[in-house]
């Protein structure tokens, strides 16, 4: 990316809990102003990684620096300079918006006029000025999420860690939340986000795919999609998709079949298998059935990368 020193640098970062390897030799670098996505299913090691980077958990192997500070030895210094928003809702629901902001500002050493100015900034940025005296428990989910984000940014951290920040929020609120992250990143704040939503990952500048503690792929979304040769992902429209699906699964050269409403989405091991597939579908479903290439989605990439990794491991 840029020549600037990385904001986060992990080298062989590992964490074990007894015999269980939660994070397995993970290496990556995050550049300033980047929206860096950490994509993986539950238990992939995303939260453990973020907790190590925030100084909440000591690594058991490898090393990592955040803003040039070592996560093992300089955790206290790191905590002063980063923002963190956990997947669990982390504001006091029995305090008002303003009281929460004042408290969390104080926790970062902001008092008096300094905190007052930042509270105004936070209310404006999250568009919740009108709710300043509302108890947090009475706020809609989307408002709370934005409030939690700006609360983590009161002390102007150059980087904010967001651990599955939009759990349980409706799509419109999620979209607004991500607009906010875009704005912040444009203003220079680095965002390190974990998620298991594909649409959220699509909005990241670069995405790291994590599975079973290992980092399987790391690149921009378009580059990740190019791991498939053109024509590897096709859509099948037919009259009886369920029956067709059973037949397709038996065909050689098919990596993945999934039913999306009336259509089937098929990932081919190689584009040349498309001919066999079209023939089979017409055989099963009649001449009306059609096979057309489509753009691979991030989910296709994700499933493909995991299947490949597990195949290699087996």
């Amino acid at each position: 990316m840029s020549a600037a020193a990385p904001v986060v640098l992990a080298e062989g970062l590992s964490r074990t809990f007894g015999a269980f390897v939660a994070v397995d030799r993970v290496s990556f670098a995050v550049s300033p102003g980047e929206i860096f996505g950490f994509l993986g299913s539950n238990g992939a090691g995303k939260t453990t990684t973020i907790r190590m980077l925030c100084g909440l958990l000591a690594p058991t192997g490898g090393s990592a620096t955040v803003l040039g500070l070592d996560v093992g030895r300089q955790a206290a210094e790191i905590k002063r300079r980063i923002g963190y928003m956990s997947q669990r809702f982390s504001l006091y629901s029995d305090l008002t918006v303003e009281e929460n902001l004042r408290f969390w500002g104080g926790a970062y050493g902001l008092f008096g006029t300094a905190v007052a100015a930042r509270i105004e900034w936070a209310l404006a940025t999250a568009a919740i000025e009108a709710q300043r005296r509302t108890l947090v428990r009475e706020l809609p989910g989307g408002f709370r999420q934005r409030l939690a984000l700006v609360a983590a940014l009161l002390h102007r951290p150059p980087i904010v860690f967001l651990d599955e920040p939009t759990g349980g929020v409706d799509p419109e609120a999620r979209r607004r939340f991500w607009d906010l992250i875009d704005e912040l990143a444009a203003a220079g704040t680095t965002a390190f986000v974990t998620t298991h939503y594909m649409d959220e990952a699509e909005r990241c500048h670069r995405v790291a795919l994590m599975h079973a503690g290992r980092l399987l792929a790391l690149d921009s979304v378009p580059a990740l999609k190019r791991t498939f040769p053109a024509g590897s992902v096709v859509e099948v429209s037919c009259r009886r998709p369920a029956a067709a699906m059973v037949a397709i699964e038996r065909l050689a050269g098919i990596e993945e079949v999934a039913l999306f409403g009336e259509r089937l989405r098929v990932v081919l091991a190689r584009p040349s298998a498309a001919g066999d597939l079209a023939e089979l579908v017409r055989e099963v479903d009649g001449d009306g059935a059609a096979v057309a290439p489509v753009d691979p989605s991030l989910e296709d990439v994700f499933i493909h990368v995991i299947a490949r990794a597990e195949g290699r491991a087996a």
Binding site: A76, S90, L91, D94, L95, F103, G106, Y108
Partner: protein
């Protein structure tokens, strides 16, 4: 300092916001005290008395009158034969049975003491023993009135609580209960709540140190505990008329080390419990009940088997009860109670250090 104040303000705001907590904090203790003050009294009045007078003389009637004149006894039955008396005790209709044998008056007029039989129902040990000692008192008085010298002239003198009013002894002790429930349980629950809702992790990713978070949590509840004591004291002093012979500042100063222990235990409990419910159960059954049983609050320590007597030394409440009863009833202060105060201080510091260690490990 400003950091601590920030946490303090937040805690107090949260306390104020909780509509259920305020009555629990300030009304419940007073009720608790009133109920315990009236119920936890071991004084016995109007003991059921059955009489079997086989002498039928003026002297025997005078002796029975001696019993019934006092408010300690209430004659529920008069029978003519010993077996009937036994039956009354067995059925529970009488707790004390008095038999005056034939020839009682004749012995007395011969200048000899004369003997009577008093039976007590030991199945209700408290009433039985107290009834028996009242009976002995009545008989001694009767002997003195008749000019007969008893075999042993026993004149016990009770110091500090001359009327042996159990309320004077029990009510101050209930103060300790209030402190335990309020500081220990509330501290434990408040800390566990932060972990439950996820704010604890958020707190620990800020530059706040675990020590600051802990102290910020303990101070508000120490304040609450102090306010509790001050709310409950008027009930003790004015409603129950328990004398405070020592000084109030001494009492409050000696309460501080005990509160250090209860707050520390609250913190310790919070490192063991995952939910507020668990914290409550742990507090009630693992930390409060055994303390009550092993501190001399409910049962005299002297009567316990040696192992249990040894265990009582590990119970902070034991020392605080000595302090409470010492200050209230004996009017003593630091000069006498410093060993207890020092022990509590040491225990409090040790408990806090242990809890602090566990607190860190739990989140590490």
């Amino acid at each position: 300092m400003r950091t601590l104040l920030n946490i303090l303000v937040k805690e107090l705001l949260q306390l104020r916001r909780d509509p259920k907590i305020l009555p629990i904090l300030f009304i419940a203790p007073v009720f608790q005290l009133i109920i315990l003050g009236y119920a936890a009294t071991t004084d016995v009045r109007r003991v059921e008395l059955a009489v079997c007078d086989l002498d039928h003389t003026a002297a025997s009637r005078e002796l029975v009158a001696g019993f019934t004149r006092s408010t300690y006894f209430k004659r529920t039955a008069a029978v003519d034969a010993q077996p009937a008396l036994d039956e009354l005790i067995r059925s529970g209709a009488a707790k004390i049975a008095l038999t005056i044998p034939a020839g009682f008056a004749a012995e007395r007029s011969a200048g000899r003491p004369g003997s009577v039989q008093v039976l007590a129902d030991g199945s209700d040990a408290m009433t039985g023993t107290l009834g028996l000692s009242y009976a002995v008192g009545v008989l001694q008085e009767a002997s003195a009135a008749a000019g007969v010298r008893p075999l042993v002239d026993l004149r016990p003198v009770v110091l500090y609580n001359p009327d042996l009013i159990s309320r004077d002894y029990m009510v101050p002790a209930t103060l300790s209960m209030i402190i335990m429930v309020m500081t220990m349980m509330l501290t434990a629950m408040a800390l566990v709540r932060e972990s439950e809702i996820g704010t604890m992790e958020q707190l620990l990713v800020t530059p706040l140190t675990p020590g600051q978070v802990i102290v910020g949590k303990l101070i508000p509840f120490a304040l609450v505990g102090s306010v509790e004591v001050l709310t409950a004291l008027p009930v003790v002093l004015f409603l129950f008329q328990v004398p405070l012979r020592g000084s109030l500042p001494t009492l409050l100063a000696l309460t501080a080390p005990f509160m250090l222990c209860t707050l520390g235990l609250g913190l310790l409990i919070s490192t063991m419990a995952h939910t507020q419910q668990q914290a409550m159960m742990l507090t009630a059954f693992v930390f409060i009940l055994p303390q009550m049983l092993l501190s001399g609050f409910a049962f005299p320590i002297q009567n316990m088997p040696e192992l249990f007597q040894f265990l009582t030394y590990l119970v902070p409440l034991r020392y605080y009860l000595v302090i409470l009863r010492g200050v209230f009833l004996k009017g003593v202060g630091f000069a006498v109670l410093w060993p207890e105060a020092l022990t509590l201080l040491g225990m409090g510091v040790a408990i806090l250090l242990l809890a602090r260690l566990r607190f860190h490990r739990r989140l590490g």
